[in-house]
Symmetry: C2
Subunit: 395 residues, 2 copies
């Protein structure tokens, strides 16, 4: 029985995580803590179903609503540090980091420090932690290793695919020997505007961008998927998780989202991971690892399936080139890329900037100078500064 | 340095094996023996290049031609047992079984007995050995296991794909634990007649059938590829190699031959192995296993790739249903299926029977009674009898 804390339980990944647990055998998982930002109504509903010992909400003004809606009496934790406390609780075995954006960073840092295993759907925290590690330790060591230090299992379908393709028995170190790997190939759906002419892209509105073809996701990640910043963040995340340089990560457009990613070996063989596009597959894998459990997603049907692959259009989607540039620097720029994009997306969603300006704001922020001494506090400073620069860009 | 004996060196797989060795670093392989059936000219040319210590030819009347064409003085072995002697030689580490058809069975039996590792492109010997094992031991144990008894590495691209997808470190037994596997999916190009209406198929000639779309292969396997008996044999071979029942083996038509096969896991994830369609990829993997070496095949390019998958047409291609039927019986019928098909293909190539009659001859032979006590000698008897029944069918 694994005791699970779900950070961000009311978001898209959080809800799907609970659905995976709902459909699993009862003796597999126990939900110990549910943590949300502000959606007291859904959080209470989830808590009443799963009866976690701890329920937390970041927005203190939602405390009373939450308490009123609960039909039992768990510990209720309130405020900005609530998720940290839940993730680090001594009774928790596995923390699902389903928080959106950079907010996931602090909670995960603490949970890792406390020795928890993290099932992570949050790219930003992985990128920040790796920038920190790159500054403190060696630059290319993977965050996922196969020995006792395996503490992060990716939930992102692409990273989960890579993980599944190169993982073996977790007790067997040698499987993580990457000398046989030429590169990894991250697949990208291309988003809703892949075929939109570049001259029409500047008119894209928030509503246009919130229609994503294959996955059901939150707002931030849906915009990122349309700009391909999502794939840029995954480039940085994969580099962190698997200890890969920019020359080891390829991106391929694959509109059907059936092949979740691939590993290319030095001898010309390529391994691919496929399933129906349903995030619950990767979530279940992260929760049940190192075992595989009975399918809760649909069976992939090959009786009439077409899969296509295309080279990315780097001109239309500068997010990719900027990510490679950030990765080559490896310390400050991955943080700047991540934070500046988060700010620019926020501005786009609020109608304060155009679709194509998101990348321009990130590029502008990446061109600025930042403190070179990296520490946990410095990362938070760089993050703030990058957001400020992203906001200040005038075109 | 691996000392290699190539049985069937002048055939398609044999020639490609030597090309792999030619393109590998010199210190990796030494060709100890080359064995051919009757092509003295090519055999001598190969021997003069690779300078094996032993050269053997089955047809005794080719001895003088072979000797005259050699520009050095290896041991020359002649006759039906020549390949057996080469494969079993004490100096040989790895035997490449590139013999076509049932002829490969005896040589491999001896080489296995002598403790050699077999890189096998010969389905028939695997099927016969497994029928024998099924009779002597338990019915479903795999011929490939991950401990010291790993003695067979498949060269067939489909079996190599499955092997690569489920293998891990060869010292790690647990990777061969198949409880997480729902089934395997063998891909089939469909052959040149996949879209031919069934009423036109009876007019297919030998020349029509010898045009295969993607792979360069020998005559027998090309006809098998057009009838889908090749896939039927692979069903039986996969069952033998990996210890799988009929309900664990799925066949999917995939005309591009880029996905070589797949493994479907219980949780809905599917792993696929891809490369450009070039047999030398699987040959190299078998020779260098457990390491992967530098690519000698073309790089798979995803910048403009389309892959399609279809359900097989079991009515047009009865070879598949007959294979499942043979597998369910598991002892005599796999041998009958294999031998009767070999005879029927021989008759088709000689203009003695029609294309669609190949399957009818096999079905007829499978309906007959055979001795139930299986031994090495009995298998040879069943093989002969099945060929006789296949020949006797009148329609």
């Amino acid at each position: 029985m694994k005791n699970i804390a779900v950070l961000g339980s009311t978001g898209s990944i959080g809800r799907q995580t609970l659905d995976v647990i709902r459909q699993s055998d009862e003796e597999q998982f126990s939900v110990f803590a549910l943590c949300a930002d502000s959606n007291a109504e859904l959080l209470a509903e989830q808590a009443n179903e799963f009866k976690p010992s701890v329920v937390s909400i970041a927005h203190a003004n939602k405390y009373q609503e939450l308490k009123d809606r609960l039909n039992y009496s768990p510990d209720i934790v309130v405020g900005n540090n609530a998720a940290n406390l839940c993730g680090g609780h001594e009774k928790v075995d596995l923390v699902v980091n389903a928080v959106s954006g950079v907010a996931g960073f602090k909670a995960v840092s603490l949970a890792l420090y406390k020795g928890k295993i993290i099932a992570s759907a949050n790219k930003e925290s992985i990128i920040y932690l790796h920038s920190l590690r790159n500054a403190l330790e060696s630059g290319t060591s993977p965050m996922i290793t196969a020995n006792d230090s395996l503490r992060i299992i990716p939930i992102d379908s692409e990273q989960s695919a890579i993980f599944q393709l190169i993982e073996g028995d977790p007790e067997n170190n040698s499987i993580f020997d990457r000398s046989s790997i030429e590169n990894i190939i991250l697949t990208a759906s291309g988003g809703p505007f892949y075929n939109t002419p570049i001259e029409d892209m500047k008119h894209i509105t928030v509503n246009d961008a919130l229609k994503h073809p294959t996955w059901s996701m939150g707002k931030k990640i849906t915009i990122d998927s349309a700009t391909l910043f999502n794939k840029g963040l995954e480039i940085l995340e994969a580099a962190a998780l698997f200890g890969l340089g920019a020359d080891k990560i390829e991106v391929v457009i694959h509109p059907q989202s059936v092949v979740h990613s691939m590993v290319r070996f030095v001898d010309g063989n390529v391994k691919a991971l496929l399933s129906v596009p349903d995030m619950r597959g990767a979530i279940q894998y992260a929760l049940t690892y190192p075992k595989r459990r009975k399918r809760i997603i649909d069976r992939l049907d090959f009786s009439n399936l077409n899969l296509s692959f295309l080279a990315p259009d780097y001109k239309k989607f500068p997010a990719l080139c900027l990510a490679y540039e950030a990765l080559r620097e490896g310390r400050v720029l991955p943080v700047v890329y991540t934070a500046a994009n988060e700010k620019a997306v926020e501005m786009f969603v609020n109608g304060q900037t155009g679709f194509l300006d998101i990348a321009k704001r990130v590029e502008y922020a990446m061109g600025k100078s930042y403190c070179n001494k990296i520490s946990p506090d410095a990362i938070i400073e760089i993050d703030k500064l990058a957001r400020a620069y992203a906001a200040e860009w005038k075109g």
